[in-house]
Structure formats: structure tokens, C-alpha cells
Symmetry: C2
Subunit: 479 residues, 2 copies
């Protein structure tokens, strides 16, 4: 854990604690080091990025949230919102101490409005709780990420989370029709509504989505639902090289087929995950695989699309096409995909899980460059991820034999080079995990200063005292 940084923020005094207890109830204000330690980190490396809050506040209502923000703004105390703490970029870490506001008690479904096909939820709700609830009623929240078992809706909104279904369904933002926002000055405002179109002024809702909690605290969300896709089928397609695998992606998409997912795994990822799971995908001859999922409401339609997709793959260089239509086989294959990160953790628990995004046609150019980086910096870099939208988890994995000092040095240099390569290919450094704390210093190096200035101008205009999740995405000192 890093030392407290010098700031101009006011400390959380006993008087402030008294005010907080009066505002949200004493039991919802935590100061014991033991209890608040869990709020000092997310899923990034705690040793490197973790930082202790001065106090954890657990509001039960939007009015609580607003009252605490007003206090923080008045007193110049930093405030960091947190959903489930499952983030991968340090977005919910209280970098400057101050108030950590956990939304964990605001975790309820407020309304399922079937006529308008929306759910209204408190943003502390665990994404899976919503997904299961609506699925039992034949409905589908299509915007959920891979981590839906643990993540909260608020975090999904903050990072505009993607995931394995984004090729067909898009990312979280497409399903957010409304946000109740507590602004950095403590006002409550309703953005959007139960509406699928709206040009009555600027689209502030879409600005808030993906702003990583720096523009206010989303306390409620109106989430668009669609009909639950009852039919599903998967193809596992083997290719000799990553290039051949990737080249087939636009072919499929341009034929009007819209797979739910087109996941890509390189040989290193497949082998490592298969060994970890004692699984036996036919990886020997395959330099890369695509896992293509189709879903819908009509099994016959899915069948037809599956055949069409399989044929396209065969016409475009696939070595082998396996169809998995039963639940059991589909689960086996997805299990390999899902466990890649975990499998590498067994090899070495120290990793830098990345999520660069490039135009899909450029993915093949990334692969050989990863090999060069891997050799140059003595790190393994398995590559897997969402080929259908160009979002790749090219993950740096520390060699267990390497010293921590060397790893840190090599990690930073390798990431810097990776991000430079990504930018040169027309890509961005994060497709779904966010910049947060972890990628802040790198964003500064690759972003157009004009674009950064426009972002900072909004931040300053909305949060004049810079109390709302400060130090994330960018520092205002850069301005």
C-alpha cells in the first residue's frame, strides 16, 4: 500500500464523523481499521494501488448520498464511490483517503416495469441478482460483463462494462435509459427516463456512463430489458494462425449474421487453461481458436445461422469446426475461455490484466508484436478476448523466477510500449475495464491533449472542488 499522498483536502475529523453519523446513522459509518481495510483496494494489486479511506459510509437512500456529498463538498473532503469493488483499474480506491462511500446497502430492485421493458434498480445491486430476477420472468439484461456474479450495476455504469455478449448486444451503456445522479455538489438529478429516444438537451446520461465515478454518484438506474433468448448454440473453430482466425470475423459480421460472441484464444491461452482444467480441446494443431455463440428465441433460426457461420469459417481457412449445441459441451468450452486468467494465476499470481481495444482488422498485427514484447521484457503475454469487438485481454504475466523489482520495471516499460502499439493501430488502451488509477499515467502519454483538455474542462465545471473520486482517469494538475 502506498503512503498517503500530500493533498490539499481537509481531514475527516471527529466533528465530521459526528455529522456523518447524524446523516446516515452510526451503524453505517465505519472507522475501525479492520473493517475498512476491505475498502482499500479492488481487484488490482493492493500492494501497488491500495489506499486506506479515513471513513467508510454506507448510505441507505439517495438523500443520504446527497447529504454526505454536500458535506464533503463544503468541507473539501474527497469522496470515492464504490459498488462491489470488483474493478480492474483501481477506480474505487480512495487514493486521497477521505470518505469511501459504499453503495452496498442500496442494492434493491425498485420496480420491474414489464410494459416498458425496464427495471429500475439501486446501483449497489449485484448485477447477477438483476439478471436472475428478470430471467425468471422471461426477460434479459443484455449488458452484463463476465464478472456479473460479483460486480454491481453501479460499477458496470461507471466503467461502461462490456463482456462476452457485446458483439450482438453492445455494452452496458446501451441499456442504461436513465440515471439518478448525485452531482459533485450534492444535487440530485434525474437523467433520461423510461425512454429509448430523447434529444431534449445534451445526453448527460451517456456522459456519466463510463466516467468512472468522477462526475457524480449514480444512485439509481433505469435499465432496458429485452426478451430472454431461449435458444443458444456454439461453434468452436480451429485455425492454423491468429491471422486466419481474425480474418473470418468481418466476413461473418458482413453477412448479416450477428453472433452473441466471437471470442478469440491464442494457443498459449488455450493450452494453459486446458492444462489447468485437465480439459482436452484439440489445441495441438491450432494456432488460434474462435468461440462463436449465437442466441435467439427460435432454435431453428439459430441452427440455420450456425450452419451459415460454420460454412463461412470453412470457406475462409478453418482447420476444423466443432458444433456444440448441448448445454454440457457449451459449458465445457466456455469454461476453458473463462479460466484463462485463473490458469495463468496458478503459474504466476502476479499479472497485469489488460483490455486494449483495436479495430478488429488490426488484431492480427498485434499478435506478432506481443511475441516481440514478450521476449524483450521476459514476460509471458497470452492473448485472448472479444475478437468480435476488437477488445483483447493481452495479459502480462510475471515469470515466477523474475524479481519483483525487475517485474515492476519491465511491466511499466512493456505496458508503455503495448499502449503505444495499440494507439498506432488506431486503438485505445481500455475497452471495458477503465483507466482508473492503474492506467492514468499511460493515458496521459497517448491521449490527444485537446481531448484531455475537453474532459478536464467538464470535470472542473461539474466538480469545482475536485472532491468526486479525485485522481482517477486524469489528474487536474495536468490541466
Amino acid at each position: 500500500m502506498t503512503a498517503t499522498k500530500a493533498t490539499t483536502y481537509a481531514p475527516v475529523t471527529e466533528a465530521i464523523l459526528g455529522e456523518l453519523r447524524a446523516l446516515v446513522g452510526a451503524k453505517n459509518v465505519l472507522v475501525d481499521e479492520e473493517k475498512i481495510e476491505a475498502y482499500s483496494h479492488d481487484e488490482t494489486d493492493a500492494a501497488e494501488y491500495g489506499h486506506m479511506p479515513e471513513v467508510v459510509v454506507m448510505p441507505a437512500t439517495t438523500e443520504h448520498v446527497a447529504a454526505v456529498v454536500k458535506l464533503a463538498n463544503r468541507e473539501h473532503i474527497p469522496i470515492t464511490p464504490r459498488g462491489a469493488g470488483s474493478g480492474l483499474s483501481g477506480g474505487s480506491i480512495p487514493l486521497y483517503g477521505g470518505i469511501l462511500m459504499s453503495l452496498e446497502k442500496m442494492n434493491k430492485l425498485i420496480e420491474l416495469d414489464v410494459d416498458n421493458m425496464v427495471a429500475v434498480v439501486e446501483t449497489g445491486m449485484v448485477t447477477n441478482d438483476l439478471a436472475v430476477y428478470v430471467q425468471e420472468r422471461g426477460l434479459f439484461f443484455a449488458g452484463y460483463p463476465m464478472s456479473l456474479q460479483t460486480c454491481a450495476i453501479g460499477g458496470n455504469i461507471a466503467e461502461n462494462a462490456g463482456g462476452g455478449k457485446a458483439v450482438k448486444y453492445g455494452v452496458t451503456g446501451r441499456y442504461i435509459q436513465g440515471i439518478e445522479l448525485v452531482t459533485p455538489t450534492g444535487d440530485i438529478v434525474q437523467l433520461g427516463g423510461k425512454l429509448s429516444k430523447d434529444v431534449s438537451g445534451y445526453d448527460l446520461k451517456s456522459l456519466v456512463v463510463g466516467s468512472e465515478g468522477t462526475l457524480g454518484i449514480a444512485t439509481k438506474a433505469i435499465i432496458k430489458l429485452i426478451g430472454y433468448p431461449t435458444a443458444k448454440a456454439d461453434l468452436l473453430v480451429l485455425f492454423k494462425t491468429p491471422r486466419e482466425a481474425i480474418d473470418v470475423v468481418p466476413v461473418i459480421l458482413s453477412k448479416g449474421l450477428t453472433p452473441t460472441s466471437i471470442e478469440f484464444m491464442d494457443q498459449l491461452s488455450i493450452i494453459t487453461s486446458c492444462k489447468y482444467l485437465n480439459e482436452s480441446l484439440p489445441y495441438e494443431k491450432a494456432g488460434a481458436m474462435l468461440l462463436i455463440e449465437l442466441d435467439g428465441t427460435n432454435a431453428e433460426q439459430i441452427e440455420m445461422d450456425l450452419i451459415a457461420a460454420g460454412q463461412l469459417c470453412q470457406e475462409h481457412g478453418a482447420i476444423e469446426v466443432y458444433v456444440a449445441e448441448d448445454r454440457n459441451n457449451i459449458e465445457r468450452i466456455w469454461n476453458v475461455r473463462r479460466n484463462i486468467a485463473e490458469a495463468f494465476k496458478i503459474y504466476s499470481p502476479i499479472q497485469s490484466l489488460e483490455d486494449i481495444v483495436v479495430p478488429i482488422s488490426r488484431i492480427p498485427e498485434i499478435i506478432p508484436k506481443l511475441d516481440v514484447l514478450s521476449e524483450k521484457y521476459h514476460v509471458k503475454i497470452p492473448c485472448y478476448g472479444h475478437a468480435g469487438d476488437g477488445n483483447l485481454h493481452a495479459t502480462l504475466v510475471k515469470d515466477p523466477a523474475m524479481s519483483m523489482e525487475d517485474w515492476k520495471k519491465n511491466e511499466v516499460a512493456c505496458l508503455r510500449e503495448l499502449y503505444k502499439i495499440t494507439g498506432d493501430l488506431g486503438g485505445k488502451i481500455s475497452g471495458e475495464h477503465g483507466i482508473g488509477l492503474k492506467r492514468k499515467k499511460f493515458l496521459k502519454e497517448v491521449i490527444d491533449p485537446v481531448e484531455l483538455g475537453l474532459m478536464q474542462a467538464i470535470k472542473k465545471a461539474w466538480d469545482p472542488n475536485n472532491i468526486m473520486n479525485p485522481g482517477k482517469i486524469f489528474d487536474l494538475a495536468d490541466a
Copy 2:
């Protein structure tokens, strides 16, 4: 045309004209009253909203645009961007005179990148030119509005245009992956890219979409394409009452069927359009109709979905379900839908074409209230539009016998009441046409001052001299 408003802006002097000619070439700078008159209005009532520019500038490159904006910003001259001038809210009218910047010469397709399924275009390109070009190559720009024959991509972006296909495909913004923006201070910045996901900082691209040219001038756009849907079929469904017609919409959507369109027409709209076209839809018994279109790549799939949708309608109170699968019949029915506004223009050319948007479940509540308003203010209010997304063209039509003075008074009072009702139902005053000039005074009355303040804060931060399309959406004097 209204008199020039008192402003604090600097006039376009001979010296400025000289500078403009040097920047973009003399032939691209128009000052003749005859020539610039066409740029003084859009598709709103010219007599009420029109205003003459001092000069029309037609840049050929982004660098031209940036140079002119830098000059305007330095000299405090208002600048109004314009695409095709087909807007319905006065967004491209140079309210304060100054420079009208027409993008008409920046109308080229720059690149069709099939591998990444995107087109890169200059924003002055006519939407239909893009649509036709990509369709000939088996691709589809799904975000286009009803007016695609005449409108420009830049206007679609400025208003986040919707249209008849938004139920399935969403509005323009979903297809805008990147924008080249000239900021109000004349900087050129690339937002987004050939990427379908990106959380590398705030989503400025989505903020610019729908901002009606007040946050800068979009000079290029990266547009996501999808496979062209080769199969299409339509249902025309008759209901006794609007309520029964509307009640079936969420039933269809919740079954996982995703029609391209669910268009709604009340009896007054149908009768008027049919009489105008000498057409013979079976409207006598029908208080309302739904026109449901399905599209896709597989005719058999469309057939199955069409049958399913028809059955749902019959189970939920439809009097009659007509299937139109051949091109000729589909065109006949759509022709009735498309000609409603035109038909009422024959009855009376003076109208206020509205595009309120409400949660779809609330549409039936709107209908009887329109009848009350119609009687109270002595205006006809046919109601038709995009039921599948709650966006209704409840259009005030002047009785030819009414004096202009009475019409103006009644129009304003009736709109005010209509917008109030819309807001009370959880709706917004514009779903796809924008606020512009026409709805500015009304937006102020219905919007939460906190939300308005957040918008104004962004505008001030990005456009400190308020030169970029000033006087649209809101006035900064309200701040």
C-alpha cells in the same frame, strides 16, 4: 423573418470577409442576399424562426473549418453550422447573424472499410448517398431517419436522429463510432475511432451526438455498418382503440421479437393520408393501426417471426391482421404512413410538427388528452409515429379558418400544455427533432434546473465566448 436581435457579437466587417476569402477561397464565401437567403431557414416556419446570416462560408476541408472557427472565436462572431438544412427545430438557423458555415462541399465518402465494417465520411454527405453506396455492397447504415433522401450525416449526428427503424436498430448515435470535431475554439480533435468499445476517458463522442452543433462542428464521422437485411415483411394490424393497439407493443417486444418498426397511426391520420393518396386502407372500423415491419437475412425466419407477431396481435384484441410480404403492398402501406404530414399540409400548410416521447405504456393516456387539447385550442392534432419507442408525432394543424394571430396564441398555449402533459407522463419534449430554436422557451419550463445547469456548465467550459451555434437548446443568460 424576425428582426436582428441585440447581441454583443462583433459584426462581419469587410476586413473579416477578406480574411474569410483568404482562408477558404473567394468562391466559397457568399454575401449576396439572394444567395444567402436559402441559408436563413430550415424546415421550420421561416416567417417565425428564419434569420439571415451575414455571410455563408463553404469550407472544403477540416482545416478550413478550424481556421474559420478560430477567426470567429478570436473576433467574437457567432458561427452556425449547417448540413442539409432539413431540420425541424431551427438548429441550423443563424439566430444572431454572423457566419453560416455550410458543410455542403464536405460531402464525400472518405473510406469504406469492409474489414472493420465502418464507413468514414465527411459530415456534409447526404445520408441517402451513404445508404445507397453501402447497400450496393451488401451493407446497411441502420441509423437513418425518415428524411434520409435530403438530410446530411452531420445533421443526423447533431440531432441524434431517429426514424422508422429505431425499434430494432436504435438511433443514429449507436452507429457513430468516431467523430472528427472542430471545437468552439478551433482545435481539431478525433473522438472515438474504428472501435465498438472504448472507456479510455469520458465518452465525448456521445456528448457531441445530439448537442445540435453547440459544442463544435463534426467534420468527419466513422459510421458503423451492419449486414444488409435482405428479407423484409410487414403486418398491418387494425385495432378498435389506440389503447388496444399500444397495449400489444410491449407484448411483442417481451417475447423476444424485435421488429424493425412498430408504427402507430390514429384514425384521423389514416383517413387524411388515405384521402390525400386516394388510397383505400380498411380504416372505417379501426380506431388505430399498427404497421409492424420485420427484417433480417433469412426469409424463413422473417416468416416465422411475422406469424408469431400476428398471433400475438390477434390474442390481444386486434380486429384484423393483414400480411404484406410483396414489395408493392409494403410500399403502399408505408406510403400512407409517410404522407400523413404532407396530407395535413394540403388541409392546412401551417402546422407544428412535434415529436414528444413518452414511456410506451403511457401512449394510450396521451390520446384522450390530445382530444381535449384539440377541442380547447381549436386545432386538429393527428397522432402517429414510432410506437415501438414511444416517439409520437402529435402534430398541431391550424384550422384554415383561424386567424394567424389566434393560431400563434393557441399554438403556444397548446404546446405548453402538451409538453407539460408529456413531462407528467415521464416523457420528454423531443425524441428525434431536437430543441433548437423552436422548443427552447419550452425546454426551460420543463427541465430540471440542475440538469440545465449541468448542460450550461459544459457549454461554457467548451465555448467560453459562446460563439458556436449560440441561442440553441438554451440561452446562457439563464445560467
